[in-house]
């Protein structure tokens, strides 16, 4: 079976609907558009938007999720979250997690994508498969396997480390606050690396080979090709990949939950495990009264912080770009 590759046009702007069409025909076209859109919009409203709105309502109550919420507490839940040092600690861990996972994962993924994108490289799709496979496995399964590997056989790793005189005492990797978050981060990079690899590969495939050939004829070297063609051509896709990676890492949950459950002593607690522990009352063995209202408040507060964070980011970026452009203009750098 050969992949269908339709001819494509670089210009995405859809031509506006023909003006001369009778109004009735246009209305019928609208109708079809709405009908095609309806299933998606219905699913979205019912199962994504409605629960968000409902949760917003819960934030005003102290409620354990049984029956209907009755104990109105106003904004008390938000106040409680803001005064909880564990929340801020878990927020810091979330940022550290994102700040390491995103750049490392994207840099590695881009580098590997560049190697695999070579048309003359045989077995490229085989290698792609190797590096993509961890994505297919669920976090629950990964948690069990990695925990077995690191904790049960941490002894073997430790022996090697001690023989090499890298460490002088036995390390409990997932149980030691100095290492636990690092292990979680490493596993996080490993687990979702494959997505970014194929996104970058897809982006690279859209760069026409002719561009490179033309540049090569001009005598451009490898570095120049990368800087002058690959980077600019990948910019659009790159932003999308970056945004997806950032959204994904800020929402990290199941991997942490299965590896450390946030411990020891909150040293790997991220916002989503923190919220989960509020909403579902700790672990199986450690029952705590669940508080759905507080958990919803924490989740909204986190969402709010993220939105503020992204807005600040966009504003800073824009001013930087503007300033640079302004600077160029004053220097008369128009060509």
């Amino acid at each position: 079976m050969v992949a269908v590759s339709p001819t494509r046009r670089a210009d995405p702007a859809p031509a506006s609907a023909p003006v001369a069409r009778p109004a009735r025909r246009r209305a019928r076209r609208y109708l079809w558009s709405y009908l095609y859109l309806a299933p998606m919009v219905i699913l979205l409203l019912a199962f994504i938007v409605y629960p968000i709105v409902a949760s917003l309502w819960y934030t005003l109550y102290q409620w354990d999720g049984i029956g209907d919420p009755t104990t109105f507490v106003g904004l008390d839940n938000f106040r409680q979250i803001m005064h909880d040092s564990i929340f801020w600690r878990s927020l810091a861990h979330t940022f550290v997690y994102a700040a390491i996972v995103v750049p490392v994962q994207l840099a590695l993924a881009l580098a590997l994508a560049l190697v695999l994108n070579n048309r003359r490289l045989r077995f490229a799709s085989f290698y792609r498969t190797l590096f993509f496979l961890p994505v297919v496995t669920s976090a629950a399964v990964i948690g069990v396997v990695i925990q077995l590997l690191v904790s049960n056989f941490g002894d073997s790793i430790n022996t090697v480390l001690m023989d090499l005189h890298l460490t002088h005492s036995h390390i409990d990797f997932l149980g030691d606050p100095h290492f636990a978050l690092g292990i979680v981060i490493a596993v996080g990079i490993w687990h979702t690396f494959g997505y970014n690899l194929v996104y970058f590969l897809a982006g690279l495939q859209t760069i026409p080979e002719e561009l490179y050939e033309a540049a090569r004829l001009d005598g451009a070297g490898r570095v120049a090709l990368f800087r002058r063609i690959t980077i600019p051509m990948l910019r659009g896709v790159g932003v999308v990949i970056l945004v997806l990676a950032v959204i994904g890492t800020f929402q990290v949950f199941d991997l942490v939950q299965v590896l450390t459950s946030g411990g020891p002593y909150f040293s790997t607690e991220v916002v989503n495990t923190y919220i989960y522990h509020l909403a579902f009352g700790g672990t199986n063995a450690n029952a705590v009264q669940p508080n759905v209202g507080l958990a919803s408040a924490a989740s909204f507060f986190f969402g709010l912080l993220l939105i503020v964070f992204s807005v600040v980011q966009v504003v800073v970026l824009r001013t930087l770009v503007k300033r640079r452009a302004a600077g160029r203009e004053t220097q008369g750098g128009r060509s």
Partner: protein, 292 residues
């Protein structure tokens, strides 16, 4: 444009060819060793699933079993009633993939190719949900499904599972359809094809790689989904899925690691196979979606 095989005009062709071969061989060696090391945890799980209990403890990080304990698989299959769960998971996965594909391809098509009042609003709504915090309780959705009398059916799982991937899929299809040449569509309309025919006969068949991509991503999530099938089949345990069975299996056999690894391999094998079948389409599909 890669680290290797970028030729430069030079007089000593044979030397270059040799060097090129060297570089190529080294690249392959690095990729192969790196790739296999990357998959080491999975190989270790696979190897451990075939070890005996004692060997599991003595062999440590060595993934290769000394002799193969196929009986682990037999036992895992029977103990976890994987057989029954397998069928449920398959039905849920197929259902979710179909619903997601139909819903997202149609939405992606009209968002990419047609103009209508309210389009901007719709796009805004879809993008906003990507960033908004999702609710932290299943209760609103659960109540909704109850009012629809869909609880305790595979349908409820399929519908809710589909909704979780709808935004991402719509965006991917939208990107893909935007990149397809408009002339084809126009030609079809000149031939008298209606809105429906244009989509189902012309556009959807053209988006094969994207269908494979969205289908694969959806299948991965649906196959591994644990919480939704657990909650929506709580009154009918016979509708449980592999992931739920596996979760319980982990609990019951928390110290029977070889059995546990066998269970892991059983749940993973089908989705890995599916990936191997579809993987060559889906980079193409993604490439189509991100093409400007």
């Amino acid at each position: 444009m890669t680290a290797i095989a970028v030729g430069r005009p030079a007089p000593r062709r044979a030397g270059i060819r040799n060097r090129r071969r060297m570089v190529s061989a080294m690249t392959h060696a690095a990729l192969l060793i790196g790739g296999l090391a990357w998959l080491y945890p999975l190989f270790w799980a696979l190897g451990s699933s075939l070890k005996s209990d004692d060997q599991f403890f003595t062999s440590g990080l060595n993934p290769i079993p000394s002799h193969f304990m196929w009986s682990n698989y037999e036992q895992a299959w029977q103990e976890a009633s994987f057989g029954r769960y397998f069928l449920n998971t398959l039905l849920i996965t197929i259902g979710t993939v179909l619903v997601t594909l139909v819903v997202t391809s149609m939405a992606g098509y009209v968002l990419a190719r047609t103009q209508f009042p309210g389009k901007k609003l719709c796009l805004g709504l879809v993008s906003a949900t990507l960033f908004l915090p999702h609710g932290y309780t299943i209760i609103p959705i659960f109540d909704l499904m109850q009012r629809l009398h869909l609880l305790d059916s595979l349908w409820s799982v399929i519908i809710v599972q589909s909704s979780s991937g709808v935004v991402f899929g719509t965006f991917l299809f939208m990107g893909y359809f935007m990149a397809i040449d408009r002339e084809l569509e126009d030609a079809a309309q000149v031939d008298g094809a209606g809105f429906n025919q244009t989509f189902w006969r012309i556009m959807l068949p053209l988006s094969g790689p994207m269908v494979a991509t969205v289908g694969l991503f959806t299948a991965i999530t649906a196959w591994n989904s644990f919480f939704l099938p657990l909650v929506f089949t709580l009154g009918r345990p016979e509708l449980r899925t592999l992931a739920v069975g596996m979760y319980a299996f982990i609990g019951e056999n928390s110290t029977n690691w070889t059995l546990l690894c066998a269970g892991t391999v059983i749940t993973l094998a089908p989705i890995i196979l599916l990936f191997l079948l579809l993987q060559r389409f889906f980079v193409n599909g993604l490439a189509g979606a991100v093409k400007q």
